[in-house]
């Protein structure tokens, strides 16, 4: 390796670079925190914390490195520094252990970001579910509408990235077709909106090309809370055999999917939040909600559920700080409703669902970091006390 190579390696592992990156992280965290007063956490997270670069402002598109990129460079700095710079001495053991723990933590963060699945299950008392719904991601599902009985359903899905690409400004005014060999029709989606609300067309609006059956979708500004945005689109179903076109409006909060009959078979088309299966089912038996006496302050939220797996039932209580963990999935007590329920009204309970293979890694990383810092701090303190004693004597 030449001088330039060695200098570069030295730079990559240097304290100077570490200091610079830490200050940059500090500034990005500060900005990301401040921006949460105006923008929702989801948007801020995407912009500052999960990006490699983001533009300074819309008007000044200077690329600023995002936290994701800074953390990758910091990991490199940490490893290179650990190998080339830090002296492997007894006096530095604590520092080395702490840095190892931080590397461990960064790696677990990376795995969490790439592998973790998040969503929720909402159940009224007496209801059962074996799937959970994503907080933010949307999909278009096409399936044969089930008849009587509970036949297995095969779904054709238009995935989140394909749909979301249509919501970008660059896609405005265009449409996109989706088809499958096993389906007797082609879908043509247009006017995909990230936040929309259906409206009845009156007066001149009735003439607009976007109006279908007297209804059109009004585009709304994105809500600061990402979960509150409701997707919507215009859909044309073009039958392959006859070329017949059926037009409709799809909206994410529709109670029932759009249905149509083709060749004597009824199909359902649903724009919805992404659904993912759970390897077990959960039935909500009772939701218990207690307030501190004579106040509206919540004291206890608890759901009494039954976990059902291979026809084996097991009663479980899920409450704040007491989740249900099973087969890599964790169900947390997240919310409940309706907020103004009467005494005999059925309540619903909302469980946040997380599947994260790196779930426990941060805890171990924390332990390693703490051992390292404590070791080093005690070592330095003893040295300091010795030096002070020497100074005084």
């Amino acid at each position: 390796m030449g001088n330039a190579g060695r200098a570069f390696i030295r730079f990559l592992g240097s304290n100077g670079l570490a200091t610079f990156l830490l200050i940059l992280l500090f500034l990005l965290t500060l900005l990301g925190t401040w921006e949460q007063t105006n923008t929702g956490l989801y948007e801020v997270q995407k912009k500052y914390f999960e990006s490699t670069f983001f533009p300074l402002t819309e008007e000044i598109p200077i690329p600023i490195p995002g936290v994701y990129l800074v953390l990758i460079v910091l990991s490199v700095n940490l490893m290179v520094g650990g190998v080339y710079r830090v002296k492997w001495q007894f006096s530095k053991i604590g520092v080395l252990i702490a840095h190892l723990g931080i590397a461990f933590l960064l790696i677990s963060g990376f795995f969490t970001m790439k592998l973790a699945q998040h969503g929720q299950v909402t159940l009224y008392e007496g209801e059962t579910a074996a799937e959970f719904v994503s907080h933010y991601d949307w999909e278009l599902a096409v399936y044969k509408a089930p008849g009587p009985g509970r036949a297995k359903i095969t779904e054709h899905l238009v995935s989140t990235p394909d749909l979301e690409a249509m919501g970008e400004d660059s896609f405005k005014g265009r449409s996109r077709k989706f088809t499958s060999e096993t389906l007797p029709f082609t879908l043509e989606l247009s006017d995909y909106l990230k936040n929309s609300w259906p409206k009845l067309a009156r007066g001149n609006e009735a003439e607009l090309p976007k109006v279908v059956d007297g209804v059109y979708l009004e585009e709304r500004p994105l809500d600061a809370t990402a979960e509150a945005n409701v997707r919507g689109a215009r859909l044309k179903v073009i039958e392959k055999n006859t070329g017949k076109v059926t037009e409709t409006i799809l909206w994410g909060r529709q109670r029932y999917p759009f249905t149509l009959d083709v060749d004597g078979v009824r199909y359902a088309i649903d724009l919805r939040k992404v659904r993912k299966p759970l390897p077990f089912a959960v039935r909500l038996n009772e939701f218990i909600h207690e307030r501190h006496p004579r106040t509206n302050m919540p004291k206890v939220f608890m759901s009494k559920v039954t976990k059902i797996e291979n026809d084996v039932e097991q009663g479980v209580k899920i409450s704040m700080n007491e989740p249900l963990r099973h087969k890599g999935y964790t169900l947390y007590q997240s919310s409940w409703g309706p907020p103004n329920a009467g005494p005999n009204q059925k309540l619903f309970s909302v469980f946040a669902v997380v599947k994260n293979p790196a779930d426990q890694l941060p805890m171990w990383a924390t332990l390693v970091i703490c051992i390292g810092i404590l070791w080093q701090a005690l070592y330095r303190l003893l040295h300091y006390l010795k030096a002070e004693a020497g100074r005084r004597s």
Partner: protein, 656 residues
Amino acid sequence: MNMSRRLIVITAAFLLLAGALPAFAADGAPKERAWDEETVQIASTIPIQDGGRIKPMSTFARFRLIAMCGKSTLKDPVYGKMEPMPWLLNVLFFPEDARKYKLFVVQDSEVLDGIGLTDIVKKKRDNYSFNDLEPGFDELFKLAREYSKIEPKNRTPVEEQIVNLAFNLDEFNRLATALDFARHYPELKGSPALAAMFPRPEDHRLSGLLAKAGEIRRLTESLTRSGEEQQAELAAINRVLGVAERNLSRSTSLAIFPPSVSREKQTEWLAPAELFRLAFAPGSSVEERSSVEEQIALLGGLEELVHVSGDQSAFKERLTAVQSGVRKLAEKRGEYKKVELEVSFYRGGYFTWSLVLFILGFVLVALCWLLPKVRFVPVVAATPLFVGLVFLTIGITMRCIIRGRPPVSTLYETILFITAVAVLSGLLIELMTRRRIALGMASIIGVAGMFLASRYEISQAVDTMPSLVAVLDTNFWLATHVTTISIGYSAGLLAAAIAHVYIFGKLFGVARGDPQFYKSIARMVYGTVIFCLFCSVLGTLLGGVWANESWGRFWGWDPKENGALLICLWMLAIVHAHIGGYLKDLGVAIATVGGGIVVAFSWWGVNLLGVGLHSYGFTQGVMRSLLGFVALELVVMALGGVVWLMGKAAADAVKQ
């Protein structure tokens, strides 16, 4: 008017005033109504359910008074000085006097202009009585209704004050009329049957009515079944019951009757109004009615108290009976054991004492700086600091026992704990270094912390031992994550305080010929930074583990989490820059002062953003103080820059 006449008028006025004054005792009642110490103590220990927990009546009185008056002691120009418990007794038993107290603090006279009471304004901030404000009630409550529809964070200060004033006046009026049921009895006109049931006037007191609820119900049922001719009597009885219920309806805030059943069966205590409901509610069973017999007897005791309130010894005797009755019921449910401890806690004034001792310590430390050669002075200066710390620790421990919680579970408690840890750390550092610097910083942080705690309690005007929301109901994480983070804050602030000494010492040329002096301070600063870093990293990561247990994610970029991360990043940057040689001792000192700003932002600032899962720590009215602190610290950092420039210029001069 000539001089002699003027003197006569002044003398006459003085004599009149002097004659009038002794008629009032120090606790605000006319002398014959003054509450003696024993009566106040008995009243203080009556338990009441308020804010979701059982507390002594004196605590209930304390925070009601603070909310209305802006202080924990009322000072009325006519009625004199009043502590919370005597004040509440006066409000309950002598409401006509209480309406004249200059009780309600109005921070800005614009509030009074807004409700058309311009003519009573004397100062921008002043206290007014209920009677002073009464002419403006219509406008005040109209505006308050309008402004309460606005989100609190979007209200202007005047709008906020109007809403608060209306709330406080309503709350006061509820208390002042809470015992009206004992002052006005429904007349038994039109019902011979009722008149026969209650032959003497004192029999048809509310407690009497409730005690015979079963008979009255049976009577109304039989009248309902009988013919038309009985309907007039039925209407008369319903009227009597309607008046009784209305009279009781103002007493809802006085939940002083523990139910006869166990805590597991019923958590809510009963106010007088609820006794009526239980006794008379259609469908209430015999068991339900008989379960409130003891409480109805206590209600009778309350009525008696109103009637004997002018007779001190009789009042004390009846009050003792009520207190012991309530206490007996509460003890049966296991809800009395901490009431007396809480009374002792507030009577002890441990935090006030620690503030006084920290001030004394600061004065002695200043003396110790003036007499550097005298060896025993630091020991003398450390003594009040140590004793102050003991008082503070006793207070914190008592709170832990009363609440059954670790030391930190509210924002108020962070102030107490952080102050205690900073003073303790300062004393320990002083023990190791003997430079009299950590001692000084410990005293300054002690004074500032206890002063802040006192101001915070007054400004928030709510119980500082509140019930906790469901997510915080976990002693393990409160004891580990919250405590560790608070120790980190404490160390960060102490390090920043010591760094001030470095900067100002250099700026004013203190110990110019003693480089060891500055080396020692630099070591103290850096060591405390490392300690802060350790606690902050540990606390932040423990918080992540807690979040993972509770919400399913280790890190969510919530403002409070970010605040803790900012401290870690700042301190890590200092450490790396120091190791890399980019920051020398002065640079570390300047950056550590910056660390103080970061700690303050994390501790207070993120709550002001009002967003995120941790917004239960949200507080109002501290923005100005926080900005003031930040501005001041930025000036100190700039002065550090001046010191650096001076040093550089001096070094250049030496080179030349």
